[in-house]
């Protein structure tokens, strides 16, 4: 009876510590101007992507043939492409592709990575062997080459992009999670939970998982930048979403032949792509500093 009370007190203490930990992190994050600006930029991008039809002056496929290949003007603020399509509108709709690829892929690879990483780290033995060999195989392979290979086999469409990028993305997450689980497993509060007869599932879900959150969030945020860049590279190589859907990589590809004649046009999607990648990198940095002050660089 007494021990039970003691334990629940202990639990509550951990919970309180947890809350203050998150609050501290939040305080640190909002005091980091780069991270805040990056986060605002990303939020803005998400809003733009969601409300694209209301924000974009044209659709992504309207062909204003009599104004094709034009530098920025009042009619087309960022100019038009070779079919007379509004570049600003296509960038806005393109945000949908980049962000949805980023969202879907990061969700799948985080889910897979956390699941497999926890299984490997918690049970060790055979499960660990198999999962770690799998990650070894994935790691001994340039991931972009693998993605290109997969896209080449399956053909180009957005679902295959989801698949290809998730497939090459999960091992990184799995390794980090496994490492964390290994060190958490030996700690007192897990031992204590096990002593009270908690099931493996319960221990993993309610004791280990909450402690994984901060490294997982940091890793995932950092990786989003890589996913967006990979999607753009695949699209640039001509193995991305189907036309006439715009993706920033596709736009750079489509507009780069104009680089000599209209140098400004291909730069627009290139700049927005670079800014987005940058924003996710900064936010990732900021989150890491906020969540794990010891790593602050």
């Amino acid at each position: 009876m007494l021990t039970m009370i003691a334990l629940s007190n202990e639990d509550r203490k951990i919970e309180e510590e947890g809350r203050t930990l998150w609050q501290d992190a939040w305080r640190r994050l909002v005091h980091n101007p780069t991270a805040v600006i990056s986060a605002l930029f990303i939020i803005l991008l998400v809003i733009v992507a969601i409300f694209a039809p209301f924000i974009a002056p044209y659709t992504y496929y309207d062909q204003d043939i009599s104004h094709a290949r034009e530098n920025p003007s009042e009619r087309h603020p960022l100019g038009t492409d070779e079919l007379g399509r509004d570049i600003l509108s296509r960038i806005i709709y393109g945000a949908r592709i980049s962000l949805s690829v980023a969202t879907v892929v990061i969700s799948i690879e985080t889910f897979l990575g956390v699941l497999l990483g926890m299984l490997a780290g918690y049970y060790q033995g055979m499960a660990d062997m198999i999962i770690m060999r799998l990650t070894d195989i994935m790691f001994s392979f340039p991931s972009l080459l693998l993605a290109i290979l997969i896209m080449g086999i399956l053909g180009s469409n957005i679902f295959n992009i989801f698949f290809a990028l998730s497939l090459v993305g999960w091992p990184g997450m799995a390794r980090i999670v496994r490492g964390q689980v290994l060190s958490l497993k030996g700690q007192d509060f897990v031992e204590a939970a096990r002593a009270t007869g908690a099931t493996d599932l319960k221990i993993m879900v309610s004791h280990i998982f909450p402690n994984l959150l901060s490294p997982v969030i940091v890793t995932a945020t950092m990786h989003v930048a890589g996913i967006i860049l990979s999607e753009a590279t695949l699209s640039f190589l001509g193995i991305g979403v189907q036309p006439p859907f715009p993706s920033w990589g596709i736009m750079v590809n489509e507009l780069s032949p104009l680089l000599r004649s209209y140098p400004m046009l291909p730069l627009f999607p290139g700049i927005i792509l670079a800014l987005t990648v940058l924003a996710f990198n900064f936010l990732g940095d900021g989150l890491r500093d906020a969540l794990d002050p010891r790593l602050k660089g």
Partner: protein
């Protein structure tokens, strides 16, 4: 002590190499199956719009493409083990072994040049901005490194071509064979590692400079240069090494894109082309080569860690 270290290191290397064998076999099997699952075939691609279906079928038969999958795989492994990498479907009269003989040194030299450029410039940039923290030098260096991280190579390459080749006429647009041909591809390839290394060097230097023993060194009246080089830099290099190890992979991946953009006749370009052409024997050979290189590079980086940081043990 020395001997024990050497023995355990040799053991460690052997163990790692043994683990690598099944990994590499698995990769070869995966690429092989993947190639054959593909709905496309090299003969049709080779033939283009010309020729009738009967000719396609006949030529497929002559290449043995209608044999069972396992038979084709085993014979390719058998041949590879005997040093025969086979023939490309597409480039008749250009054996894959020759493709490697030509392409590998080129890719390796380009990669090495880029690595050198990235690591040395990166460290210099990082050290300088750490020392000149807060000044415009620091800000400029960090801005350059930001660009390097966030601009994809396919955007950076055409910009550099226009500025350095078309406007300033410093280097040729493309081509191969002369030293100046290395400049653009190496710069683009080095951009990302350079920037990452510069940033990590800077923050790691700043960390170290704040540490007690550096203050002590300074207090002892040691010259600033001695402090920076002998104490700070050496200790700051450990995280730099980690990042360098990570970016070596980037160099390898980057070589596909960069070699394609700048017309470098290396193995990366051959590899991408083979994927487009469904040239199975070349896909198989190049992916395996990349896998082996990757495994080796990871091993070397891990070994370097133990050299730099004696606290890490072979496990």
């Amino acid at each position: 002590m020395e001997r024990v270290g050497l023995v355990s290191m040799t053991n460690y290397i052997l163990r790692r190499l043994l683990i690598a064998i099944p990994t590499i076999l698995a990769i070869s099997l995966i690429t092989f199956i993947a190639g054959y699952l593909s709905p496309s075939d090299p003969i049709t691609i080779m033939l283009g719009d010309k020729g009738d279906p009967a000719t396609v079928e006949r030529v497929k038969h002559e290449y043995g493409l209608d044999k069972p999958l396992w038979e084709q795989y085993l014979s390719s492994v058998w041949n590879a083990l005997h040093g025969n990498l086979g023939l490309s479907f597409f480039y008749r009269g250009w054996p894959i072994a020759d493709m490697f003989k030509q392409g590998l040194p080129i890719t390796a030299r380009l990669g090495l040049t880029a690595a050198l450029l990235g690591v040395s410039l990166g460290i210099i940039l990082g050290v300088v901005s750490a020392i000149k923290r807060g000044t415009w030098v620091d800000k400029l260096a960090m801005f350059i490194s930001l660009l390097g991280i966030s601009i994809p190579s396919f955007v950076l390459a055409p910009i550099l071509i226009i500025i350095l080749a078309m406007n300033l006429h410093l280097v040729p647009v493309a081509g191969w064979g002369k030293p100046e041909n290395y400049v653009l591809p190496a710069l683009v390839l080095a951009a990302r590692p350079l920037s990452l290394i510069a940033r990590i060097t800077r923050s790691s230097m700043l960390d170290v400079i704040r540490q007690d023993y550096i203050r002590t060194a300074r207090a002892k009246g040691l010259g600033e240069r001695v402090v920076i080089y002998k104490h700070a830099l050496k200790n700051a290099l450990i995280p730099v090494l980690t990042v360098t190890g990570m970016t070596l992979g980037d160099l390898l991946t980057g070589s596909f894109i960069v070699e394609t953009i700048f017309n470098v006749p290396g193995i990366g370009r051959a590899s991408i082309t083979s994927i487009y052409q469904r040239d199975y024997p070349v896909i198989q050979a190049t992916t395996l080569m990349y896998a082996v290189t990757f495994v080796m590079m990871n091993l070397i980086v891990d070994l370097l860690y133990t050299l730099v940081d004696p606290r890490i043990r072979y496990s």
